[in-house]
């Protein structure tokens, strides 16, 4: 999918420029995209480092575990198919908490383990179970409290108030999570 899109973007864009006699623009774009990317990465790097540092403190002190325990009662309502006390609930809450605090990379291993654990409960091994899809919807909603990459990007472009987007982002992400879960329930009923 991404592969085809990439080819499409470059071939159509490139041909369009050449046909319109703007090969010089194409030339500049080819030569300059490396520097554009590097500028972006250099801007994202420091804030990411600070954030991962802070969050490692939260991990080591047990604050993240505490937060995970806090949300597990809600989770058993969202995942009615998972038996109480099953290991997958703990993994799911760790994944959500890690995402919540902007630790995308730390969240992925928890997410994968949670999926493996859900697979153990799954009766048809090649077909997605209801709980798996619910978990997936939660992840695709991108529930996060601090969008560090976007804040970095805003700083790079000299925003007067880089963190002004934080609260609106939280509001949007949580309402869309809520609606996403309702959509998931409706689908789950229809597919029964």
């Amino acid at each position: 999918m991404i592969n085809k899109l990439w080819i499409f973007f470059i071939v159509t864009g490139g041909l369009f420029l050449i046909i319109n006699g703007k090969a010089d623009i194409l030339n500049t774009q080819i030569l300059s995209s490396g520097k554009t990317t590097l500028d972006l990465i250099i801007q994202i790097f420091p804030l990411l480092a600070i954030w991962l540092g802070i969050m490692n403190i939260a991990k080591k002190s047990g604050l993240l575990d505490k937060a995970s325990k806090l949300i597990s009662p809600i989770l058993s309502k969202i995942f009615p198919e998972i038996p109480k006390g099953h290991e997958s609930l703990g993994l799911i809450s760790s994944n959500i908490i890690a995402n919540l605090f902007g630790l995308g990379n730390a969240a992925t291993p928890f997410g994968l383990k949670a999926m493996e654990s859900l697979q153990k409960l799954n009766k048809q091994k090649d077909t997605a179970s209801r709980s798996m899809i619910t978990f997936l919807v939660i992840n695709t909603c991108g529930v996060t409290l601090v969008p560090t990459t976007i804040i970095s990007l805003r700083m790079m472009h000299d925003s007067t108030d880089p963190t002004s987007i934080v609260i609106p982002c939280i509001i949007v992400t949580f309402i869309s999570l809520f609606i996403g879960l309702i959509i998931d329930r409706i689908f789950a009923r229809r597919y029964k």
């Binding site: 991404i2 774009q29 990465i41 002190s61 493996e116 090649d126 695709t140």
Partner: protein, 172 residues
């Protein structure tokens, strides 16, 4: 509300550090150790982001988007949706790097504090790469029939876009 946005991160950071101190862990070492993890992350981030910026810059600088979207314009103005955020709304579920590259594009064009930039930021910040997550998670455990997973995920993304269009004007 602006104050709340500005206080959010400082309060979170202080809470984490004070809690760490209370639990008597080595807060300093933990910070350094965590910050170290950013190096491999950044290194992994560079190649895909480069690929996306490379592709997107060629595509957007060609002016082809304007040609394609020209005829869509009246429809979008009718429902009060700024056309400029459409690419990011469409591409966000497909690739995170793609979305980020587009966001960078919008910032460069309009400035970071422009209404469109904020709208695009919130669309990017409030959702995730649905396609990647489905491929990664289901691929790893060998699920072949994903049932309604893609539709549910994409519909949730659409909800995010619609909500952003409703909520952002309330703030900015």
């Amino acid at each position: 509300m602006k104050l709340l946005s500005n206080l959010f991160i400082p309060v979170l950071v202080l809470t984490v550090i004070i809690y760490g101190a209370k639990k008597k862990i080595n807060v300093y070492d933990s910070f350094v150790e965590g910050a170290k993890e950013s190096l491999p992350m950044i290194l992994n981030m560079f190649p895909p982001l480069l690929a996306m910026i490379f592709g997107i810059n060629i595509f957007t600088s060609s002016g082809i988007i304007d040609e394609i979207f020209q005829f869509l314009k009246p429809i979008f103005y009718l429902v009060n949706v700024p056309l400029e955020v459409l690419p990011i709304a469409v591409m966000r579920p497909l690739s995170g790097s793609f979305g980020l590259a587009l966001l960078n594009d919008i910032y460069t064009l309009h400035g970071a504090d422009h209404y469109l930039s904020i709208l695009a930021s919130i669309i990017q910040g409030s959702s995730d790469t649905t396609l990647y997550i489905i491929t990664l998670y289901f691929g790893t455990i060998g699920i072949k029939k994903i049932k309604y997973a893609l539709w549910a995920g994409l519909l949730a993304d659409l909800v995010t876009v619609i909500l952003s269009l409703i909520i952002v004007p309330l703030f900015f």
